[in-house]
């Protein structure tokens, strides 16, 4: 194999390695995007439940605020 061919061959191999790593990084980026969407969805669902509970507690507070006074 000539020196030229060796260079080309080595270039192919190096590029393959770079491509492999780059492809992995792309997959990580893509995963992060999907993960971000999914997490935001789950957080929104959780937030929804929490704020609903918070409002419920506020409501119940308002409902019983005078009960102690009335009992005493």
């Amino acid at each position: 194999m000539s020196a030229q061919a060796t260079f080309v061959q080595r270039d192919w191999e190096n590029r393959e390695l770079v491509e492999e790593i780059s492809s992995a990084v792309k997959r990580i980026a893509s995963f992060l995007t999907t993960f971000d969407s999914s997490t935001r969805y789950r957080l929104a669902a959780l937030n929804e439940k929490l704020s609903q509970l918070e409002r419920q507690v506020d409501y119940l507070d308002a409902r019983v605020v005078n009960v102690d006074a009335a009992n005493s």
């Binding site: 080309v8 393959e16 491509e19 997959r27 990580i28 971000d36 009335a70």
Partner: protein
Amino acid sequence: MSLATSLNNVALLSQHVLVDNQPAIQPRPISVQLNASLDTAFGDADLYSNLQSHLAGEARFMRKMYANVDEAMRYFGIIYATRSLSKALPQVKTQDQPDRVAIYEKTHDILRPEVEKMKEFMRFANRACAELVEVIKYLAAIYNKNKEPIVSEPLLLSIVHLLNGFSLLDNMKNMKTAWNNDFAMYKRACTNLKRMDEGETMENQHLYLFLANHDCISTKLRTDVVGIDGYVEVLTSVVNVCVDYYEEDQFALPDEKYALLRAMAFSLSMIDGNDEKTSILRNKRVKLDRALKILRSWPIIPLIGDMQMDPSAYMKHAPHIERSKLQPETEDEILKLQTKYRIITSLDGEIVRFKDYMSRFAIFSNQVRAQENWEPAPDFDLLALVFEGIKLLSSWTTQIHDQAAWKYAHPVDKFSNRNCPETAGEYEKLVKYNYSLEERFALVEMISMIKSVATALQTVSATIAPLIRRCIHRELFTFVQNTLLDITSHSIKKKRPSQSVLVMIRDMLMDAKAVIELPDEDDKKKKKGPAGPSTPVTYRACAPSSTQLNYARVLLESLYNEKAAGMKGTLMKGKDYSSQQIFEMMTFYKRSFLYPYLLDLDKSVLACSDLSVLWFKEFYLEVTRSVQFPIEQSLPWILTDSIIESPSGTATEYMLVPLDLYNDSANSALWALKSRYLYDEIEAEVNLCFDELVFKVSEAVFTHYKTQASCILLDKALKHVLVANHVVRHLDVPTHRFTSLLRQKHVQLLGRTIDFSQLMAQRMNRLLRSSIEMAIGRFEAHEFGTGIMELEGLLDNARLTHNLLSEFLPLDPFEDMLREVDDAVDLTLNNGRIFSHVVMQLIYDFLPNYSFSSGTQQFVRAPIELSQTQVERDAMPKIKHSLLFGNKFVYQAMSNVYEPFKESIGLQQIATIIRVIGQDKIGVLIDELLKNVEVQLVNMVCPYVESFMRGIPVDMKTPLFQYGTLGTFQYFQAHLKPILAYRDLKTEVFHVFRELGNSLIFARLLDQSMLQRDLFTYVQSLPFYTIDRSGVTVPSTTGQVDPTAFFKFVTTHLQGQPFSESLGGRAEQASKLNAPSLARKSLFVRVLERFDALLAPVREKWRGSRPTNGILNIDETSEFYRLWSVLQFAYCTPGAKTEFSTQTLFGEGLPWTGCAIIYLLGQRVRFQVMDICYHIVNVHAVDGQVGNIGSMNIVDFIQEVKNYQRLNDSIFATLQTLLPDRDLHGNRYGVAHPPLDTKKVPTYESYDGEHGTAVSRKIEKIEAGSGVEGHDTRV
């Protein structure tokens, strides 16, 4: 950690299940954007330089050219986004101004950085021109050397792109004046400050000319190029490349298409000389006709944003090409062009292409995602599929750009669009009124298609990237191993000159992993011809580098180019290659054109789906000297608003698509135009738009679900009748599809995440509260009868709306909202607004002012209101249909439903009261009612009764039968004259008794209603209590769990737990508490009992004195029933014909009070026997006298009495059924003892019913004493 482990870990990522149940109606948000371009951009050119030296030189040229193209595009963005600073700077008005120098100095300081930028731009333009001239010189030298040289297409393409860059810059510089103004001001400041040295003055002079003169870059280029010998040949090749690439559709990105057109026009204008000798018409090589035809079909080409250019303008420099030939001439031609530029004309076809592509792509992407390491089948062309997506995107984006350019070039006027007012601004005429509604929807549909395909490609981009590379590697080495090996072997064998090039290509691409053997390594093998791979080859997930591919393509093209030596066969010697081989080489050449776009798929998709230009409006802001246009003139908002306002609602799911234009624009502002203030303006507009969107959508959603709820609740048959009789126009369920929109929990806008669903929920909560507020407000303002019905209707409607919306949105519980608005949140208070209003209306309006009729079982408002208290109602709230029943049609229909309830109150409304205030509040209601009864009784009835009792003449004895009907009547009339003449008798007195009676009747109807309701509930709940319809508990069948037994079972298994011991007992208690009561106590009976108790203080007095005869008072007037007889006489005596009858005025409440008191005092029998009116009737039954007394006919009186008698009997019968023990309760009647001793005169003991037991014992004693079994006789 080793690389293999890391890669393995990355592979494991795909196994994570990432839940996101949000419907995808928005383009895919990109949280992490990775621009991983491995394009070497000729950086590795040296690696191959020893193969062919001229290739390395060309690579250097191309590198420079593309760097200049990038720089040109940067300046293009800067100039477009630049706003004139001079407008904001104060001007020096007079030379005597004291702060003149300070102003100039500040102006100088502020504008200097801008001017530096302008100078850099000028230097760049000069440098880039010089470099282009150098390349043209290089190529011209080749042409001069060889008449038919083979010039590399990639180099020509780089010239095309740079010419395009110059064209863009020139056009931009000609139209934008911000820099000119700023520079003029700077120059003035410098001159006044005398700060410039000679060199700077010179440069400023150049800059002044550079900025002021139009087309100065192209003029300079033209001047420089014309001096080169052979430039025409080079530019002819440029034009021809443009024509070929355009015609063969060899471009992928929208900008590339426009680049070909611009460079074509620009080059043509440079080729044409001024004289006949240098006329373009004499140039045989240029594909002039084809070029002109192409240019003629695109008279308007977009520049950027709101700017466009006319390519024919270049022809003013080409004297031999008529400019008019490039422009449409006839009306017909203009119309054809207009049709071509409009999206709507091609939309249907594009939708078909979209659906076809998406279905094919979905199958592919599902396979890819479903299987790890999925490999395409050999016959599956992955590259073609992906490239088709890019081409589709590109074609649609181009269409949108073209349409926008056409619209900008053709503003609308009041004749072409009658909605366009004469006062409309310039920009409004270009955008707001220039797109018809159909065009807006077509545009939205097209944008949606672009974003869908882009999303589909982006979603799988990371997954398919290695696949694409492997496919490219496979294609490349299939070509190398088969076609190229074949040709190479043949060339070497025949010793053809092309063999060196072929070997070079092979060496350049050489990859030992995929290529098994080389033809020139072993002569034996060469002789045998090409041999297939002996061991299976593996293909890398790696594509050739851009330099490698570029070189290989250039060399390959040089082999089969028609000018190549190998392609010129002679009679004796044919071409070097067979037609099949030529075809294969061409195919590979064209195919490999796609590779760069596929290798950087993300970048290609972004470039093809970027629609930011639809927002930018810098040119018209400068022209109209505006700071910014209102959002109503901004295209993304116009499109969004059209969708919201669309009555059909079919495009609802596209609502977030136009908003993505802001994402594109912001991206472009930051990365392409690099302008912070443009981004800030976009952000501000988005904030405004989004608020507006949320407001409008929430209104639309609420109205939609309200209307839907109304349509569900409205009786179907009634709906049909109302529509058929044209009472309302339509009552259709709306067709908007908000479901996907309402489920959006993370909408991405300018990098921010918005929980749209929560925003909607907040607004729905607020609107539902407003809706309940409106319902209660209307109830408080309405007539009670209609009000209560409408209130229930509105509450039901709001409840159903809440149910429908709760499916998608996290809303507060409806009952909580209702309590909140009803001011009934506090547990210690048991009355809310509704309850208080019901009580108020009942006590102060209904009971005093309504009269009851048992015939209709209805209360109707009496014609004259005698109540002292006037009930004031609140003002009716302003009608807002969305808060009522959704729309005005349903409101009309519902008004029709409630209309009949306006005048009367019956069982239906009473049942409604129970439902609305809740059964648990009935006790409080009754309590309030009885309190009122007590007040009335004590304060009004008792004083009246007592004074009337005193007024009854003591000597009024029942006259003898011989008096006759008339005589008897007149007898009573004469005796009762003072009472009958009492002024307030027929108003105040009757009114008081009526109110009391109404209370009782109301309680009775309430009881009836509750009975119906309880029965209904009971029958429905029977199966749950394992009770059959006859009320007998049946053994539990299989599958039904007896709760008590279950909990007892649990208790035994939970020994020791803190709560376990009490569990069984509590279950038992709960079961008993919740089980339906089989022995229901009547509510009305309880009311009567309470009424009876209220009579206790006056009972003794109203019973009158003990009968003097020991048995019965006959002519005594001290008992209550006597008074009632008098009152009955009064109300049975007909008044004047013009007066309202007692029945009409007071209804049956009046006799109900009398009868109830009489019954509860135990005076029923005496009343029935000795009532004076009944006596007259009895006399009349025998003598049948008729005649008039005054104006009154006695028969009318008799008839009236008979009516009341029947009524009284029925009331007594009712009371007797309900409270049988009260009939003779407390009656004073004598007990006639049987004679104990016949010699003794029988004695009478008075009997007091209330102390019956004691007296009975006394009797028993007597009986025991006498030894005779006694019995009492009741009279």
